[in-house]
Point group: C2
């Protein structure tokens, strides 16, 4: 009997959901808003209702379901425990599969959302064909997910792949969201690039496209494409930080491929051109042979990975 898998990706504003065939085709996708009130107590009931409604619509019974995979914005250990809660959802620590199974009695696998995205990109995206992969998600923050020999590196307490908080600069005076100073996220996230641009613009009065309109990571890389020399300096600093950070990651796990995703990766191949040379400058020779590529699944990486981990993880 052909079975189906459901992949869900719970974010701060929406829950993305997908219905997958066992061989990894996305048959349908949809999303629902996230209700944050009452410490997010309504989120999982809403998810369950939406999934059950979709199953009714498609005539899928629980015995046709291989199960549900769930990507969660927080550290999740191998048993599905949300170890430190999920700040963005208002959730305290609890066992996710246990609660979700009170609504739908099928196998449930819960993982960190960045880890899910990494597995998704390996399963059906930019990292297809590789089984030692590091995915880097450059969005508001810097997220990471690591695959070793085809398996997700979850870590002892679900903290595997937290590469956004690698310490990278001893001179930093401002605090990261995690309260440390000098985390990779402070330079290589979309927010970080804007910060680097602001710092550069303050230095002097050099003319730049970045002085007009809203300053965003996108506007920085658009200006780079227009050969704006100030933007170029900002991109080089971004590349130096990220290249150095990823060299440290490569020295630890020696991946075959880095998949770069998240909103900032929409800048395209040009983004990689700032990172790779810096990476090569810092990496240990035995870890030098790495492919850099862009993510392919965009915002669907999480639902792909959640379903993929349920089916193959």
């Amino acid at each position: 009997m052909e079975k189906y898998a459901l992949g869900i990706d719970i974010g701060g504003t929406t829950v993305k959901m997908g219905l997958f065939s066992q061989d990894g085709r996305l048959l349908d996708k949809w999303e629902i808003p996230v209700r944050l009130e009452n410490k997010g107590a309504g989120i999982l009931p809403d998810v369950a209702e939406s999934l059950l409604s979709k199953m009714r619509e498609k005539g899928i019974k629980t015995e046709n379901l291989a199960g549900i995979g769930a990507g969660i914005p927080g550290a999740v250990d191998k048993a599905g425990n949300l170890v430190g809660g999920a700040v963005n959802l208002g959730w305290e620590p609890f066992n996710i599969p246990k609660v979700l199974r009170t609504y739908i009695e099928v196998p449930v696998k819960a993982v960190n959302d960045a880890n899910a995205a990494a597995f998704g990109e390996m399963w059906q995206g930019g990292g297809k064909g590789y089984d030692n992969l590091v995915m880097v998600t450059l969005g508001t923050g810097v997220g990471g997910g690591i695959i070793v020999d085809g398996s997700l590196l979850v870590g002892a307490f679900g903290g595997g792949g937290e590469i956004g908080h690698i310490h990278i600069d001893d001179q930093e005076t401002e605090c990261c969201g995690c309260k440390n100073k000098g985390c990779l996220e402070q330079y290589a996230s979309a927010t970080g690039v804007v910060r680097l641009a602001q710092q550069r613009l303050k230095q002097d009065d050099a003319p730049s496209l970045l002085r007009r309109g809203e300053l965003t990571a996108k506007s920085v890389f658009d200006a780079v494409k227009a050969k704006d020399s100030v933007a170029l300096e900002v991109a080089e600093r971004f590349g130096s930080y990220l290249g150095k950070g990823l060299a440290n990651v490569a020295n630890v796990v020696n991946p075959e491929i880095f998949v770069i995703g998240g909103g900032m990766s929409q800048a395209g191949e040009i983004l990689l051109s700032f990172v790779e040379p810096e990476f090569q400058k810092y990496v240990f020779p035995a870890c030098r042979e790495v492919v850099f590529t862009l993510a392919k699944l965009g915002n669907d990486a999480g639902i792909y990975g959640a379903a993929g981990l349920l089916l193959n993880g």
Copy 2:
């Protein structure tokens, strides 16, 4: 039928060898010198002859052997290829099991020596009972080995766990052996600690035990134990570098335990007291829960791990 395993650990001056029971008891150990002439061509024939002679002495036939595990001072991939050669032995790249099996026809598993030591400490040493472990070997250099869910993290090209070459200081002006500047090894190895001590002693004329006799990593930690304030400053700088470096490793792989070995670990628990607080300063909250412990197997970690990987890897 009870079987045996042989563990060998090839270093720059001697090859250590051990005969193990299947349940991990070291039944006998011995060593032979390493002949470096002729690009180390005699090393494996010497090893094979010594192993065969031991087997004859003990009345062990090849059918009583589960196989041979070999720790090699170089990057070794999953197939046993010595990817970049072994500089200290004069060896070019080749497939180690293939060659060793021309002398003794049993299963052969070859791994990097620091990785072998990590597996050994997990199997029968300081990390027994844990299956997410990072071992750090503080000797002439800084070596590393990573165990994820009970399996060795070899990496795509055998470069997994090369934590000695994590970039940790942008201000460094001297080169590391790998030709980069600012590698962890430049501060946290025995050589690195001596360098830090020399730098400190040059700064002023403050009286210190370190100004008498030979300056070694051991003399630095002996002086720390004697409450020498200059040595204390050196140990604090060492601890800051190593703590920061291990925080970066923890953010990537989220281990349960760090096992600290190598010659420098003979300084004892006091060494950990300089590292742990600095680690806690830099690590991401989800990766904070880690035990720090000293290695237990000393110079035998390599033969334990090589045999252990053959039997259980």
